[in-house]
Amino acid sequence: MVRGAYASASGMITKYKQIDVTGNNISNINTAGFKKDSLSAIPFGTQLLYNTADGQNVGTVAEGTVPGTVTSDLSEGTAEKTGLPTDLAILSDGFFAVQGLNGVRYTRSGSFTVDAGGYLSLATGQRLLGQNGPVRVGNDDFQVTADGTVMQNGKATDKILLYNSTTPQGAQKQADGFFTLTGAAAAAGKIQQGYLEGSNVNLVEEMTKLMASSRSYQTCQQAFKISDQSVQLAVEQVGSLK
């Protein structure tokens, strides 16, 4: 088949994936602690072209593009004042550690509630981990200071620890929205009670990416149509027996 058709098709597939990623970002614009993703496209590879007469190579032609990696942008989202004492926002780098089913998971989302056992946990059931295991506050009021110390009735009962990766780019978003940290180490940070960190999705950026991707998709589609028409000409007219 015509090489151009495959290149345009790969362009359409990559733009389609880009629109998927952008759509996910837009739908999570109000999710607490959500970090926006971006897709990088990489060229597929080049192929050497040979001159049919004497077999000399005349140069290379690119074979289209494939979606590369999806990376998360870990910049801070805007902190919104909710006034709920169970909402915690991290005003610096670092992740909360929560107890998942199969081990410790890391998240930036600070929208905790007090569960049936009196522990601070996320809506999906994972409990927040402090210095001495899951943080228990019971039914009493509690204050969280900037360094994570939990105070109840004037006494420090626990300390919420923040973790960060020792390598740059060490935080990877997993399929369930939690992060894994390579080389997780305790980090100093600033926690604010009564605030919730929103997503770091910039609506204008995502809308312009959406417009650019759909226009590129349309252009690739046009290029594919033209490749298709030239094959049609070759089949119907060039090769016809009359």
Binding site: N202, V204, E205, T208, M211, A212, R215, T219, I226
Partner: protein, 236 residues
């Protein structure tokens, strides 16, 4: 995509940041000692385009790539002093900052002089609403005397470059490498009055209207660039 699309998008992002800064100023119009922030715009990198037949781009045929907010500058003008009659309220007549120290020993600086009596070590000291102790000119906390006012006036500290102080929230600033270290100064401190914020509502409202119009124009640029691309896609 044509460059105009991305220039328009950059313009939209920079106006959004400008509105953020203006909104923060307006919401702090009643905060004692608040200093308004002004955003400064800058243009982005220029690309030079090639004239037909030239081997490289020409400086006379360069096109910009949009705008961005380059910095937010603090307006250090003094706010109007307001008499409150409260003997623990102070305002600085001139430039300089009060110094407060928290329980961990970190020093912060503030223009907000709304202090009160704070309990510590079995006696009353003068401190701010979060319990940080106010320091005098020698760097020591000031005890309260029996009649509800401080024994000495709070100390005033100056910086070589007060515009480079890092805001910490809660009306507090901390020194950075660019601002220089705090030096004690003999500026007059008046008791019983508070410095109001220096936000000029008229300027902020006109900035808001202008940002809105510029945002509208930039979105028109993005729409136009998009329809040009659509026409290019439909050429054949």
């Amino acid at each position: 995509m044509i460059r105009a699309f991305y220039s328009g998008a950059a313009g939209l992002k920079s106006q959004q940041t400008a509105v953020d800064v203006t909104a923060n100023n307006i919401s702090n119009v009643n905060t004692a000692g608040y200093k308004a922030k002004q955003e400064k715009f800058g243009d982005l990198l220029y690309s030079s385009m090639k004239t037909p037949g030239a081997s490289s781009g020409s400086a006379n045929l360069s096109v910009g790539n949009g705008s961005a907010v380059t910095e937010t500058v603090t307006d250090t003008a003094e706010g109007t002093p307001v008499n409150t009659g409260n003997s623990t309220d102070y305002c600085i007549r001139g430039s300089g900052f009060f110094a407060v120290r928290d329980a961990s020993g970190n020093a912060f600086y503030t223009r907000d002089g709304s202090f009160r009596a704070v309990q510590g070590n079995g006696r009353l000291w003068i401190g701010d609403s979060s319990g940080r102790l106010v320091l005098d000119n020698a760097g020591k906390p000031i005890p309260m005397d029996g009649s509800g006012s401080a024994q000495a006036a709070p100390g005033v500290y100056r910086f070589a470059n007060s515009g480079a102080l890092q805001p910490q929230g809660d009306n507090l600033y901390s020194p950075t490498a660019l601002s220089g270290a705090a030096t004690s100064a003999n500026t007059e401190v008046k008791q019983g009055c508070l410095e109001s914020s220096n936000v000029d509502l008229a300027r902020e409202m006109s900035n808001l209207l202008m940002s809105q119009r510029v945002y509208q124009l930039n979105s028109k640029v993005v729409q136009t660039a998009d329809s040009i691309e659509e026409m290019a896609n439909q050429l054949r």
